[in-house]
Symmetry: C2
Subunit: 407 residues, 2 copies
């Protein structure tokens, strides 16, 4: 996707990018300082609507808060999704502060310490256990608190999903219990703790509908086989997520209709037949929030060095690390950029957009076509709604923290 | 360098790694929680001593605080170095809170906003200007405050240093003013502001003494030529730094004697002749603090997945991003690791050390040879004293912030 498509997604007012219908220079004045992150509430709702329209009614939608734990976003989504997945005690507290019911909150991730697990058991949320160590910690916490904990077993599948941005299943993994070991684990612990069901997460940031459908199909087969070893009904089948969003010009958006079609076949077919008492769950973070957010910076210097134009902005990799190509990317590619207060002007030729940090890593746009921009103009980086601020080294070089607003 | 060499650098007590002479399990008890960063005061002093012994007496040593802005470290070093370089208003405040004199503090970095520059001018520190925009902001702040500001011109050299971890000079750059433009800038602004001299920083994390000496020699030539265009004496010649430290097993330490030998030739030769009123400065961050620090985590789970052993620790890439290979590295290589409470035991074979984050990026040791370790053991990552905590996404997934201690 190119920058024009991203601009059109937000819309424009008087030649400015709009967020929540407000022109960007007015929003910047409202925020009072740059840089800042802005999330568009209507785009968030539109994304949920699109998911609901494409996916089967019976399929529950879980928001993976790790993608964006801003409380305003969590509170907004708590009324629009069915479940929230958390990855730490702090994320759990944010979820519990919202209107979501505790038994609709799940807690996944390797390396949960005993104290976190005790908090989760006390809260009555679903602990997605990644190992037998964690099961024993859950049981100990339940005994201590006089509560029967609810868990789901995270399974490391015996298949891998090709073509994901990040592979998180198959082979040797720190995530989950190896599929072949799960039957024995179920037999050993099913009487000590309430095992609601299973979670299989095979990969992340996938833009290929066919691969996602294949993974979901294999997941249903795997979970169906494992369920034979559970002495009671399965009530929770978390199929994972992994729906990607387009970050660079070469990326095409995920074909949501195709993914939905595959899920209709699974949810209304084998999943309904095999698990009549379980609502299947799809867990999405990036796909829900990633495209609704922008990172807004202000140009503080415009320099020509040996024929190359540099726009130096007041933000940088300390707030939006992934856009600099330094967060898990093997190859750096530009994220979509715009001059947010001048979106309708013609491009002036390739310029470099750099952050204010004193390191060459702080490159936000390499030879990018933009309208003419100068000091005080607003440079926008799109696709900043997920794994943005919290996935960045905010203390690096000691610059002030950016604001975050939901508009 | 291998892990054994790093262990020996800190020393051991009763089979445990020692920090400041204290065995690691006792230090962990003193800190009260894991994970944490620990910096060894004696190693810090030893590094300063080694630099003073190898470098010419006339060469001033500046600490680039961006490498580690922990106040205790800054206060400790303020009595041992000649200057401190800062990269933001917050770093400037930390420096000014120490015993260093304001006129021994320099402020470099592109994208300095007018408010930061006004603070720097009010403080009376040296502003290392990166552009004519910044010069005009300095002059405006001086006019406003009734102060004659002191600046140095950061020069983007007309040469590049090969073999640096990060190149920051030569070609088109956001850093500094292109060398060929500097004469006109000096003529235009020398009457409006006190231009003390020059700063040339060609690259970072360099382990090759020959390349560093070549860059320093070219820097002296360049600065000598530029000084002809300044209508008064040069009083500040910052030769940059860029001394690297060995991060992976294949890295060999920098030959400090060789670098020192080259600098003796320059400082006692052309620099003294050409700039009798200027003390030359070398600016180092990573080289001063990088090797004195460790990141200490505790094992929270030990798992076998399909024949592979995983040690899951309570820290991870959210505190020490570079060790996961996700901070500017093209190829991921293991940082040196140890079982800090069992350093003398024999290795048990390759294990994976992973952090507690729910992402496959959170890999701290890939197939690394370690003594047998289990839950509650302490896993240490060396070379964590520079660009560690502040260069990491601490809010990612909402885990608690680690402690930092200077022992």
């Amino acid at each position: 996707m190119n920058s024009r498509e991203h601009i059109d997604g937000f819309g424009t007012v008087d030649g400015q990018l709009a967020v929540g219908g407000m022109p960007l220079d007015r929003l910047a004045a409202r925020v009072g300082s740059t840089p800042f992150f802005a999330y568009d509430r209507a785009l968030l709702d539109a994304r949920i609507d699109a998911l609901r329209a494409a996916l089967p009614d019976r399929l529950e939608l879980s928001f993976a808060m790790k993608a964006n734990p801003m409380p305003a976003i969590v509170h907004h989504l708590a009324t629009r999704v069915d479940r929230i997945d958390v990855a730490s005690a702090l994320e759990m507290q944010t979820a519990l502060d919202s209107t979501i019911r505790a038994d609709r909150v799940s807690f996944a991730g390797p390396g949960k310490v005993a104290a976190e697990i005790r908090q989760a058991v006390a809260a009555g949320i679903i602990v997605e256990v990644e190992s037998t160590t964690e099961i024993r910690r859950v049981i100990a916490a339940g005994d201590d608190l006089g509560i029967t904990p609810t868990i789901a077993v995270r399974v490391n599948p015996d298949f891998a999903v090709k073509g994901s941005g990040m592979r998180m299943g198959g082979g040797a993994q720190q995530f989950g219990i190896d599929a072949e070991d799960v039957p024995a684990v179920l037999r050993q612990y099913a009487g000590d703790v309430d095992i609601l069901g299973f979670h299989v997460f095979a990969g992340s940031q996938n833009l290929n509908a066919g691969i996602l459908t294949e993974a979901q199909t294999k997941t249903v087969d795997l979970v169906s086989a494992l369920a034979d070893h559970l002495p009671y009904d399965v009530r929770y089948v978390n199929l994972g997520g992994g729906f990607g969003i387009p970050y660079t010009a070469k990326d095409r958006p995920l074909d949501l209709e195709a993914v939905g079609s595959g899920l209709h076949g699974l949810v209304d077919g084998p999943l309904r037949e095999r698990f009549p008492h379980a609502s299947p769950v799809i867990e999405l973070g990036r796909y829900i929030v990633g495209e609704c957010g922008i990172y807004v910076t202000r140009v503080v210097d415009r320099k020509i060095s040996r024929g190359k134009t540099f726009l130096v902005v007041d933000g940088g990799m300390h707030h939006q690390l992934a856009a600099s190509g330094n967060f898990g990317q093997a190859i750096r590619r530009n994220y979509p950029l715009a001059v947010g207060n001048r979106v309708d002007a013609a491009d002036e030729g390739g310029v470099n957009v750099v952050g204010c940090l004193c390191t060459p890593l702080d490159l936000l746009g390499d030879d990018v076509e933009l309208p003419p921009a100068d000091i005080d103009d607003l440079i926008v980086i799109f696709q900043a709604g997920a794994y943005g601020l919290t996935a960045s080294p905010t203390a690096f070089l000691g610059h002030p923290a950016p604001a975050e607003v939901l508009v």
